[in-house]
Symmetry: C3
Subunit: 213 residues, 3 copies
């Protein structure tokens, strides 16, 4: 298995686990686990393949569906063993985001040849699974949290593209992109890193609530 | 009209009616009825056809759009005649789920030849319309209710596939799948059937709220 | 640049600005602006192209992504200059809805030849960006507001189709569709125009809450 295929399976599997963890937080039944794990696991890649107009990956290769189902079943029986399921959800989501964002950029670049499309594909692939998960499970969206999220997927995709542009082999470039994305997202989770949020009327904060509008 | 085409139209029409009923609960105008009926009626099948990479069914055959529009108009003028619109919504949704889930499995199997993909297609086709309806109408998602929902679509799809596998003709297999799905979903609505939900720390319920996390 | 291409860019650009304004209301960071502007700007057209089974427009022509990114950056630095950002959001959304709804009808008609599909494409193209924006930014959906919304996109699409049917050139027909849609939506915003909402039991309001169910 090549390094890039490995990132693909890491992304699908860990996103599926986060979907199952979300199902556990909502006390769904085993089929709810299967559904949410599958949608979260394959959602981003499905949108990617539809937009790139290539066959949807899990229709071609059924193993992905089985991987999602396995992740759901294991999580159903093992989730009570971990202490804070939401913390696990956030960290597994971070690894999946890094892995799958780079794989999305790889596939977008391989098929269209355009770095712009590749970066957008990395962003969609890395973040859409989590967005769908939160939407379907009726959780506050990970998008609305103050920590860096989309930025990490974007940075990983951009680093992958740059590394390819300067002639590095795919295995090195994908490693660089993965590490950058994971460090940014992980650092944000650990240390609360964030980018400056939009502030209306900079320099002239209104009396009551300085940054609110 | 073959039995399987009949299931297709039953699914689209009844999903469209549930969309219109949802619009009535939100006191939308007639165009809101048309929109929500159409999205609910054709949403699941559209995702199915995009993923299977076949022409989207209602772009090929306009009758589906007219059926959705008709369902919206009839519901706009007739919905006040029924006593509990939400109860009707749930039951029509149950029939549509059973019919459309089996049709999704049929189409998925016919095009890919893979039973795994067919079952996933049945689940998506049977449930996505209702998920979109609840999302757009800002109703609590039918997914989050305790009764069996996705499981019914899945069971219908699996029974259809098994019946085909043992050599039954499509008309019998689709009847079996439809009846199984409808009995499961209907029984769940009538008797409150559900699968055991996920419980954290089985056997050791914490003092306060036994099953919550 | 032809008139119809001009409507396309107007729609994408203004939708992108409304996405960025929505990001400003949620105090997201610059990457959040980029993401929400891009999804709002290209969301409706992406669904249109997937359903019509033609290459997704922004994968073919990268300029659209750059336009969305530019709109996000400009809005990030300029949004504090406007007095009521939500009012701007609604009005720019109105112009984008009119422009993009007509362009959707044009493309739907050009590719399928069917006026039914063209009208549905106009509705999807004109409204989906705003629906996604509100869903992702967790704002109350523009769909649920009492003013006319989907109706304006539909009216613009229908007028475009009728104008083409009586033999007017594309430039005139698209102008007619755009003006009709904008007048309907704009009048609705200014004067609170709306269509009669659904009322249960017309003529026999129950004692307590006359129109609620």
């Amino acid at each position: 298995m090549s390094a890039i295929t490995f990132l693909d399976y890491v992304g699908v599997t860990l996103f599926a686990v986060t979907g199952a963890l979300s199902a556990s937080r909502k006390q769904m039944d085993i089929i709810g686990f299967l559904f949410l794990a599958t949608v979260t696991g394959v959602g981003g890649g499905t949108a990617r393949d539809l937009i790139l107009d290539v066959p949807v990956f899990w229709v071609e290769q059924h193993l992905y569906i089985l991987v999602c189902a396995g992740a759901a079943v294991v999580t159903f029986f093992a989730a009570h063993l971990v202490e804070s399921r939401y913390k696990w959800l956030l960290w597994l989501d971070a690894i999946a985001l890094a892995a799958y964002g780079v794989f999305g950029a790889y596939k977008g670049l391989a098929i269209t040849g355009s770095p712009f499309v590749a970066v957008v594909m990395g962003m969609i692939t890395g973040t859409l699974g989590g967005i769908l998960r939160d939407l379907l499970a009726n959780e506050p969206s990970v998008l609305m949290r103050k920590e860096i999220y989309i930025t990490a997927a974007m940075a990983g995709a951009v680093c992958y593209i740059l590394a390819i542009a300067i002639g590095l082999p795919v295995i090195v470039a994908s490693g660089v992109g993965f590490v950058v994305a994971l460090c940014i997202r992980g650092g944000s989770l650990m240390f609360g890193w964030n980018l400056p949020p939009y502030k209306s009327r900079p320099g002239r904060p209104p009396p009551g609530r300085p940054t609110a509008v």
